[in-house]
Symmetry: none
DNA sequence: AAGTAACCGAGACGGTACGTCGCGTCTTACG
DNA sequence: CGTAAGACGCGACGTACCGTCTCGGTTACTT
């Protein structure tokens, strides 16, 4: 999983074809493109190594040389178009940041091709602990850190209470969105995500004051 | 999907054996049991029709006669042991109900065998819209209705504001739990779920009053 | 093989249907008819117990109750229409008897439905010694005896030499016909079979005299 | 049927191993050998693609890649060991040639493993016109041509009448042998085949002279 | 007239083998 | 040395029939 060895990123236009100078960039892109297309056209089960190879005009061995499985290829497919697509913003106010980000997240998950890939990967991760780990380490953790930074900026600005557990706060924010997308299939339009932000901010505001509803006595 | 036709339904010791009167109850249970065991022991990929058949001492054709796929079998596996396992309680107070339920939900998803099946099904549903639909219609909707009733009781008692959108409220409650389980893999122990309930109640309380933090002007 | 128990042959029109008095004649005929049709329409491989049962509107068990296999059914099929179809004639002269019989045999094997069944059975008998034995004992031996009697009559009339080995003579007569039908697929029209008879008779005639060509000295 | 594409043809140690240059010769031989063994040990019904694959240590797909059915494999099995096994001799005299050849043929059909394969193929050909055609075109016709040449040499030497229909003559010669082997199961030892030759030669001799028995008047 | 027993249809069952698909590994020839 | 090509052993797929079984219904001989 995730054993994809990227080619010489910095080295400029390395672009060979059946030679001794490193992997073929053409082949790499053809594979990723083919995998993406197949996922969108035929769904996860329709993505096979043989299918990718045939569609990309590439030998199976070439795929196995650089990736470990079809999930690995999809993973690169995902990284290719999605890495910077989900950028927690920095607009200056919590409300603005959060509403913007949740709208962006919802749209990404439901409308973007890369979002479809992510859903497929998260789905597959339920069957495959190794993939789950790779997925988190290679992507979700970075994203999460950027999301946490967004919250941290709000704390710095005094918009969120200092003692807030940012991890849990984040789950309370994005959790409902993921839940609708992955589990209920319910709508996640801007009105919905905006209200999620409202509720989140209301809870945070209340947490900074004496709780108006006394805790459970039992 | 979900094309399993149950036999003698409600009552009566209907216990046939492969004749014109319907399917063999023995075979049905052996299949479901085998699928469950295989999922727990070897994971989703380790569940195969051939494997189930061999383990259950049943012919493949018998499985194909009554179920459409391994997912279908797992679905019945899930219904078998989980239908009543997740019962939103009615303890008399919101806080008590919600903390109890979220603890129960988290434990189910992370510790119970049926929870493992549910995670697998939700994962597979990401690749299979038909399964997603069946899963919701056959199970998740009922559960959700019971969950909504739990919230509704709290509204009736005046513990939650009357104008609350219960659907969104529910997503804000259980969403963070599912998110941790399905996406981040973070912990969902009682302390965590209790704090989720705290935050939820705080937000609801605030919603019933003039908001102490003014909404974003932009 | 050949375990078909025929019903009370002599007892008149025994014709019941789901009772305790013996097998259903309707079912028996429907089965035989279905098997015959299937053989002609779809060939030997297209004859299956399930297919016969479905086509005859009969339960599989009914077939297994009275026959042992599809070959057994075909066997009855064959006996039904072919037992008396191949009757070595008694016209008074060898030449007449033999030409008539060989023409009849060739036509039966190549044109008659029952001939198709016989070819199928002989074919199957190559794979199945048990069937081969049954086939000979139940049918071919009787036929052969009638054929031998035909030759014996000719010997009695002095038309064939007294010392003739009738078994070998018969093989020299019908063997070429079977060979063409079963092996080469060559034509076996009346002109051909008539010439076979000519040659046979010529050899027999020569055997009654001093051989004009001296035997090999080596 | 007979769609087996042979590799390196005539000569040269072409010995590849499952690459772009053609099929694996090892696999081909293992398959043929396994099929042969299974036929001899368990009969035609005991020959299955799965059985062959297992015994040969070969994947089913490899068999299906190069052959179309078990009959196809048996066909190659047969060609492998039998092509030159039946060689009509050229000893200089008809009697010598024919007695030798008929003995050889009878022994081949009744004792040789390849003979068993041929019997199975001829049997199967009764159910399968395609196989019948292939069998004739791929093997029997060549053999027949060699047999006809043997007779033709005798005609050239003046040992057989010039006007003889060689095709029919051949059927009269080998037909009785095939008949015994395929139909009656009667013995075909040297004494028997020698007498078949005697009769054949007697008929031919008589055909060259005024017939001592006048033809039928009716 | 009721009971009973043999045969019927239907069809589910545990199996074997089918022919296909995709896996991941391999060997080669080319550039 | 990386590539396209593709054969290989392997495992699982979903299907077709096999031969066995249990069932409820029908019918005609008991009693």
């Amino acid at each position: 999983m995730g054993e994809s060895q990227l080619p010489g990123d910095a080295a400029g236009p390395v672009r060979h074809h059946g030679n001794r100078h490193g992997r073929s960039e053409d082949a790499r892109r053809a594979v990723i493109r083919a995998a993406d297309d197949l996922l969108v056209e035929r769904g996860f089960a329709g993505v096979t190594i043989e299918g990718i190879a045939a569609r990309a005009g590439v030998a199976k061995q070439t795929i196995y040389r650089w990736w470990g499985s079809k999930v690995d290829v999809l993973f690169d497919t995902f990284l290719e178009d999605a890495t910077e697509q989900l950028a927690p913003p920095d607009n200056g106010t919590v409300r603005s940041d959060l509403t913007a980000y949740l709208r962006q997240l919802a749209a990404f998950l439901t409308e973007d091709d890369a979002g479809a890939v992510l859903r497929a990967l998260v789905g597959q991760a339920q069957h495959d602990p190794g993939l789950a780990r790779t997925l988190r380490e290679s992507h979700l953790d970075q994203l999460r850190n950027r999301e946490l930074a967004m919250l941290d900026r709000a704390v710095g600005r005094g918009e969120l209470p200092a003692g807030l557990d940012l991890d849990e706060a984040l789950d309370r924010l994005v959790g409902p969105v993921y839940h609708r997308v992955l589990v209920t299939g319910g709508p996640v339009g801007p009105e919905v995500t905006d209200r999620f932000v409202d509720a989140f901010l209301a809870a945070c505001a209340a947490a900074g004051e004496p709780a108006p509803v006394p805790p459970d006595q039992g």
